[in-house]
């Protein structure tokens, strides 16, 4: 295995890392808008323009943030914690270039931990005000995430065992070197991660991001009490999370085009490649959400057990079929 870590001037690589992190925050609403627009078109509606999420965020940031009388300081702090944790997790996932310092600092377990931190505070804040919906949403979110997390870790360990590292940059680098191999374990890991990503980002069939129907909502039930800039931050964090999982799937399993050396043409090509990959993923997501119906809440364990099974089979097939002498 070769590392090929080019020794760069520290300043340039950090600037690039910062730029990539900003790119996440800037592109995330666009991805959400793209998926919404596609869904609308598939349902024979005209739909809002693609940049509608930017307008929504702008509008919400301009509005006054109202707080319930019973809210504690935790309720006020939670949106910031959620946003920062999600953003930090996102910046550790290589978007356009592999060897950046942000990716070297945090491995995939840190990413899972940061996402769990954000979710924990969101659930706490949902219970803080004391409304019935908040508690219900928090309990459902914890229920889903407690089942999704082991499945995600198993899928990730499959990747880690192949690349001998839990660092995403190393995994992607390893993937780029051995692209021409058909790996049964990666197939299972991809299937498992797709299911986990659907559950974690709250898309159909686990949760419907567009509904406020009290019996079915999970994520929306937790943020009912938020308004103004707090709501904007939480929505933005949700969009970031969608983009994080999209980039994770696109760049780990289909790493074509990502820049391994830092030069201008390579970076531009990588940016074009990842935009295309995310657009394609958005098409798949919108099509899937149009075709599938939302599951009952008590069917979710079966769904996530399937993800766990995929992770387990990934590990087993790696050991049985790929390692042998």
């Amino acid at each position: 295995m070769d590392h090929r870590l080019t020794i760069l001037p520290v300043a340039i690589s950090w600037t690039l890392a910062l730029g990539q992190t900003l790119l996440y925050a800037l592109l995330a609403p666009l991805l959400a808008g793209w998926v919404r627009k596609l869904k609308a078109l598939l349902q024979n509606r005209r739909g809002a323009p693609i940049w509608q999420p930017y307008r929504d965020l702008y509008k919400l940031f301009g509005k006054e943030a109202r707080m319930a009388h019973t809210a504690s300081p935790l309720f006020r702090a939670a949106p910031y914690i959620v946003f920062v944790a999600t953003w930090l997790a996102a910046c550790a996932v290589p978007l356009i270039a592999v060897d950046l310092p942000t990716a070297a600092v945090a491995d995939v377990i840190v990413i899972a931990g940061l996402l769990a931190l954000g979710r924990f505070f969101l659930a706490l804040a949902a219970m803080d005000v004391g409304t019935a919906f908040g508690g219900m949403g928090a309990s459902r979110e914890m229920f889903v995430s407690a089942l999704a997390e082991p499945a995600m870790l198993l899928a990730v360990f499959t990747l880690a065992m192949t690349a001998h590292s839990t660092n995403l940059a190393t995994v992607i680098d390893h993937q780029l070197v051995s692209m021409d191999l058909l790996r049964p374990s990666f197939m299972f890991a991809l299937a498992g991660l797709v299911l986990v990503a659907i559950a974690e980002t709250g898309r159909i069939p686990v949760d419907n991001p567009a509904t406020h129907l009290e019996l079915t909502m999970i994520h929306e039930a937790m943020i009912l009490e938020y308004s103004g800039r707090h709501l904007a931050l939480i929505e933005w964090a949700g969009q970031l999370k969608l983009m994080l999982y999209g980039t994770l799937l696109a760049n780990v399993f289909f790493p074509w085009g990502i820049a391994r050396t830092i030069d201008l043409s390579g970076l531009a090509f990588a940016l074009g490649a990842i935009v295309l990959k995310l657009a394609a993923l958005g098409v798949a997501l919108a099509a899937g959400e149009t075709v599938l119906a939302k599951m009952r809440v008590f069917r979710i364990p079966a769904f996530l057990n399937l993800a766990l099974l995929f992770g387990l089979l990934g590990l087993l097939s790696h050991v049985i079929l790929e390692v042998g002498t």
């Binding site: 058909l182 374990s185 197939m187 299972f188 057990n305 089979l313 097939s317 079929l321 042998g324």
Partner: protein, 228 residues
């Protein structure tokens, strides 16, 4: 890296074998009979695909014939017969949940690990590379056996039996380049006759206990005419 030494066809064989194993898990858990029959048909088609790939990669022409035979029998004819049987028995909307689905899956995964452990001494001898698939096919056989133990529906048990046969065939193809054609034809017709007999048997069971839930066979019943 060992995987890199294999040709693309051999890698494809590994992928297909892994999917066969996954379909065994699907069969074990699938509550609806029709969906389970479809999963079984896919498993048969994949076993046929593995056979084709082995034939192409090792240049064994007689395997093409057995691949075609497998495809015709296990992916088309037997699923079609089972499907018709299920329709005639009025079970097409029947769904049967396992008592403890998570436990069954855990048992099945430990069976996979067990069969890997069992095949490990073979791996240490330097045999064909396809020995890895022997572990997978052993796991498919054991999961089929597990399915016959944990499912109560007679048809689901038959599916378990048939998927055991799939595992045996996979082992034969991957380890030794297929059985002689005479043996293969014999086994194929055996399976077919077994299928017909099962069909007759289902109707018999249903006539006598009015259900296909074999757990009810444990209970003693009295004939109506002989009541004191």
């Amino acid at each position: 890296m060992t995987l890199a030494r294999l040709t693309l066809l051999d890698q494809m064989m590994l992928v297909l074998a892994a999917v066969v194993l996954f379909l065994s898990f699907v069969l074990l858990q699938q509550a609806r009979l029709r969906a389970a029959i479809h999963a079984f048909a896919w498993q048969g088609a994949l076993v046929a695909a593995v056979t084709t790939v082995v034939a192409a990669s090792q240049g064994l022409t007689h395997l093409y014939f057995s691949a075609a035979l497998t495809l015709a029998l296990k992916a088309l004819l037997i699923p079609w017969m089972l499907h018709r049987l299920v329709l005639r028995l009025g079970l097409d909307r029947h769904s049967e949940l396992l008592h403890r689905p998570a436990l069954a899956v855990m048992a099945a995964s430990s069976l996979v690990i067990f069969s890997y452990w069992l095949v490990l001494p073979m791996v240490q001898q330097n045999l064909l590379f396809t020995r890895n698939i022997v572990a997978v096919s052993l796991a498919v056989i054991l999961i089929g056996l597990l399915m016959m133990v944990v499912r109560q529906q007679a048809i689901a048990q038959v599916l378990g039996f048939m998927s055991m046969e799939n595992g045996l065939f996979l082992a034969a193809v991957s380890a030794t380049g297929g059985m002689p054609l005479v043996v293969e034809l014999g086994v194929a017709f055996d399976v077919l006759v077994a299928m017909v007999l099962f069909g007759v048997f289902f109707f018999q069971i249903r006539q006598s206990i009015d259900s296909l839930d074999v757990d009810r066979l444990n209970r003693l019943t009295e004939r109506h005419g002989e009541q004191p």
